[in-house]
């Protein structure tokens, strides 16, 4: 009895859907003059640097920020048969095996790869990924706290378990946060597959606090960051990055004479980020040009202040704040991606039941 309405409404809805499809087709049909970058939320580049690339190559760059690093990789793997873009940036050494084993990338040897440090090239034989930047996950300390209490800041993993540092450290959940995971992997690299659990038992007994994410740890619990001080944070040790002290200087309302925080260089774990040409990319030529751009000197020197990471290309200049307050670690802990892949899930599981339960 209400058939006509049904029909009218059905037609209406059909039109909405059709018009939606129409606009989709216009966008997704890749004209060879545009290249789409899929990345995580932290991707950032100076406008003029990106415009330079567009001018030189004639490609228009679309950026699709697809959640945090883990989510972006997972989504890219799920959609790899029909990818959302041409080039992916932001898979790090802790997730690299997952991306490679799932066949996310096709090989491409970037122009300028020879200028990147050999230690960063973790897929040397097949060149499915190109290193773009690196960073160090390290414990940061609140200089004022340790000066006031006439304490030497801890320097090594082992120091953190000592009684004079009881109830001072806050770290992140290794299951949900990438610095949290990095710190766990660093401890495993330092103490070995069989002994890291004993170390964490000691840390737990020494009052380590675990929160879900880096933001909460650094901006609420840590007493050394300007936000943490305001929020009443009372932990003078936090798992963060070697490049965090420069950020404290650069973003301060009134520029301090020196960084308010320091880095415990014996607690560092190295993180390297890669870019790759997505399999089934619609514009592989543009993607290749973009990867070349990522290891170009111009981009590499622009990168540190945008993403707070260090350049992998030798000789690329870093800002003065970095060399002064936040050098990269000289001897960070490292771990082969294959070993990380083989152990990560199991370790996170035992870490969770050991520390959180």
């Amino acid at each position: 009895m209400q058939n006509k309405t049904f029909v009218a409404v059905a037609v209406g809805l059909g039109l909405i859907t059709l018009s939606a499809c129409g606009s989709t087709d216009a966008k997704s049909s890749a004209d060879s003059k545009s290249v789409t970058l899929v990345s995580h939320d932290s991707w950032a580049v100076s406008k003029n640097v990106l415009q330079d690339f567009e001018k030189k190559t004639g490609y228009k760059v679309h950026v699709l920020k697809d959640g945090d690093a883990g989510q972006a990789v997972n989504k890219a793997i799920l959609t790899k048969d029909n990818p959302q873009g041409d080039v992916f940036f932001g898979v790090d050494n802790t997730l690299l095996s997952r991306a490679l084993d799932n066949g996310l990338f096709q090989p491409y040897t970037a122009k300028g790869l020879d200028k990147t440090g050999a230690a960063f090239q973790l897929d040397k034989d097949r060149h499915r990924v190109t290193p773009v930047d690196y960073g160090d996950i390290c414990v940061n300390y609140d200089k004022k706290y340790f000066a006031d209490h006439r304490l030497t800041p801890p320097q090594t993993f082992a120091d953190l378990a000592k009684p004079q540092y009881k109830n001072l450290l806050v770290t992140e959940n290794a299951a949900t946060s990438s610095p949290g995971l990095g710190f766990l992997l660093g401890s495993a690299a330092q103490f070995g597959d069989d002994n890291w659990q004993g170390y964490w038992k000691k840390l737990k007994a020494n009052g380590v606090k675990v929160v879900d994410g880096w933001e909460q740890a650094y901006y609420q619990e840590f007493s050394g960051s300007s936000e943490g001080r305001k929020a009443g944070g009372d932990r003078p040790l936090v798992v963060s990055y070697a490049s965090s002290p420069p950020a404290e200087v650069i973003y301060a309302k009134k520029r301090p004479g020196t960084a308010p925080t320091g880095v415990s260089y014996g607690t560092c774990f190295r993180q390297i980020e890669f870019a790759g040409l997505l399999g089934n990319a619609q514009n592989p030529k543009g993607a290749k040009a973009f990867i070349d751009f990522l290891v170009s000197r111009e981009f590499q020197e622009d990168m540190p202040l945008n993403m707070y990471v260090y350049p992998v290309v030798q000789g690329a200049k870093v800002p003065a704040e970095f060399t002064e307050y936040g050098k990269a670690a000289e001897h960070p802990e490292t771990m082969a991606p294959g070993k990380i892949a083989a152990n990560r899930d199991q370790w996170v599981k035992s870490w969770t039941s050991l520390v959180l339960k």
């Binding site: 009895m1 209400q2 058939n3 006509k4 309405t5 049904f6 409404v9 059905a10 209406g12 809805l13 909405i16 859907t17 939606a20 499809c21 606009s23 989709t24 087709d25 966008k27 997704s28 939320d41 950032a44 950026v63 699709l64 920020k65 697809d66 959640g67 883990g70 989510q71 997972n74 989504k75 793997i77 799920l78 959609t79 029909n82 959302q84 997952r98 959940n173 299951a175 949900t176 675990v210 929160v211 879900d212 994410g213 933001e215 650094y218 901006y219 609420q220 619990e221 936000e227 305001k230 929020a231 009443g232 944070g233 899930d345 996170v348 599981k349 969770t352 039941s353 959180l356 339960k357």
Partner: protein, 533 residues
């Protein structure tokens, strides 16, 4: 009927099936053995146990605190009642991120309680339970209060005349009549808290995890799709069972009672007991519902001269490609599209379900329509990504994806609001009109439409508010250069610094005001036969 079925098949069943199959099918063979493997793991068992008991505790606590309010709204008449009813409903349509941050500002580190008494409840189960009460208070008040106001008070009075004590009269007369509504409300609260995501994620810290949070972690972080698929199926089964029981109680409620006009049953409070009850309810509402929202508003005003609000119009912040205030406009557009889809789909489904000749199969669809409320948003989001990726349905880059996902959540509310009203339209009226020579279109326009117009508006309003606040699925599929309000709030919250935090609070306040305005409008339209929400 065909259109709603097609809609749910295409945009719900298929994507969810696709992602479950991706997890559970290896080399084309279903790995059913994984189910037993996964559910016997101690970690997973722990999650299942926590999910269940916190949902039970939340439901009990909500009933305890909200049932007196249901009585007050039903039986007492006081100035400002309409406004208060809108106020208690605001939390229900607020996005969980906003509510989560409001609670954090109240009970978290450096929050109000911390400043006053040094009490911190975040990362304890109490914060989760209180937040669940905050969200679901309105479900109980509206469902139970709505029915209570239509129960004839003379029945209870008659029992008193015949010598029953007040308690006995209530227990023997009112309670049995109310029981189905209480059961329906309790089941709804249980469903919402059983599948709770944002609240647990923000307030629970790393130790607490519900099934829904665990599905999110397994899919998005651990990338163990087979475990996620098993957990999705477990949640499906649980939600299906809850909905089946719920449908049964709803049918019982529709069947048995003779109802009166609610306007006639409410009176001015008399005696110390009623005044005390009213005061108690007002205090509860003030502390539990209004205070967190007030803290939110106050924090948004911390900067002099509405600084945080003015900062919203500035695109240079770097968090987005556009000025945050742009999100308001985006959200409104999406919500209008989502509401249109939800009303069309939900309305057609309700019309089909309301027909007297509807068979068992169609009635079963009634419960199925509620399923999207109980299925993990991340499952739907990932499902969209892998199922809707081929022309002509490659919608992954299209703006329509967001309204579609929001409509999935909005449509059940439309059905629930429209169905009782449509069932109440006397079929003989239509037949009479037809006999007098009206065309079917004219019958609909002149008989059905005038009777259901208000319900339709209420349904649309609810769908609008729910779409506006939808977070879980939207955050997954919204394009980064076009964030909706809740997505923008979440992203601002995850950024460092006072300015971002203040802007998040300011945007939350805007969102809250829009939702409250929509609800106040609904209060004016409220027909008392409509709906459970």
């Amino acid at each position: 009927m065909a259109l709603p079925v097609a809609f749910f098949a295409l945009f719900f069943a298929w994507p969810v099936a696709a992602i479950v199959a991706r997890g559970l099918k290896a080399d084309g063979v279903w790995q059913w053995g994984r189910i037993a493997e996964v559910v016997t793991q101690p970690d997973i068992r722990h999650v299942l146990w926590f999910t269940t008991w916190q949902a039970l505790a939340s439901t009990a606590l909500t009933l305890l605190l909200a049932l007196p309010a249901a009585y007050v709204f039903a039986r007492l008449d006081f100035p400002g009642k309409q406004v208060l009813r809108a106020v208690v409903t605001v939390p229900f349509v607020l996005p969980t991120v906003v509510a989560g941050s409001a609670f954090l500002a109240l009970v978290g580190h450096g929050g109000l309680l911390d400043e006053l008494w040094g009490v911190r409840l975040d990362t304890t189960v109490w914060a989760i339970l209180l937040a669940h009460v905050f969200f679901n208070y309105a479900v109980v008040v509206r469902t139970v209060g709505g029915l209570w106001s239509q129960l004839d008070p003379r029945q209870e009075e008659a029992a008193r005349m015949l010598g029953a004590s007040p308690l006995a009269a209530w227990r023997k007369v009112t309670l049995p009549a109310l029981a189905p509504a209480v059961a329906a409300a309790a089941l709804m609260v249980f469903l919402f808290t059983f599948t709770s995501f944002g609240v647990v994620q923000i307030l629970g810290g790393p130790t607490f995890s519900t099934l829904e949070v665990e599905i999110y972690r397994q899919t998005s972080e651990v990338f163990d799709l087979s475990t996620a698929a098993v957990l999705t199926l477990v949640q499906f089964a649980a939600v299906g069972a809850i909905l089946a029981v719920h449908a049964w109680t709803v049918r019982r409620r529709e069947a048995a009672l003779r109802l009166v006009d609610p306007g006639a049953t409410a009176r001015r409070p008399r005696g110390a007991g009623q005044w005390a009850l009213l005061a108690g309810v007002l205090v509860t509402v003030a502390l539990l519902l209004v205070l967190p929202l007030a803290v939110l508003v106050r924090r948004s005003l911390d900067a002099p001269g509405f600084g945080y609000y003015r900062a919203l119009t500035n695109a240079d912040g770097g968090t987005f490609l556009v000025a945050p205030v742009h999100a308001v406009w985006t959200s409104l557009q999406y919500a209008v599209a989502a509401t249109t889809i939800a009303v069309v789909i939900g309305g057609l489904a309700a019309a089909a379900l309301a027909r007297r000749d509807a068979g068992r199969l169609v009635r079963g669809f009634d419960a199925l329509l509620m399923l999207p409320l109980g299925v993990s948003a991340v499952t739907v989001g990932f499902g969209f990504l892998i199922a809707l990726d081929k022309p002509p349905l490659d919608l992954r880059q299209s703006w329509i994806l967001v309204p579609l996902a929001q409509a999935l959540v909005g449509a059940p509310f439309v059905v629930r609001t429209m169905l009782p009203v449509l069932r109440a339209v006397d079929a003989r009226l239509r037949e009479a009109a037809a006999v007098l020579g009206a065309s079917p279109w004219r019958v609909w326009r002149e008989v059905d439409l005038p009777m259901v117009r208000r319900a339709l508006l209420v349904a649309a309003g609810f769908a609008f508010a729910v779409s506006l606040g939808e977070f879980g699925a939207t955050v997954f599929i919204a394009r980064p250069d076009n964030p909706t309000l809740p997505v923008a709030v979440a992203r601002l919250l995850s950024r460092p610094g006072d300015l971002n935090y203040g802007q998040a609070m300011a945007l939350s306040t805007i969102l809250m005001v829009v939702c409250a305005a929509a609800l106040l409008l609904l209060e004016r339209l409220r027909t008392d036969r409509t709906g459970e929400f």
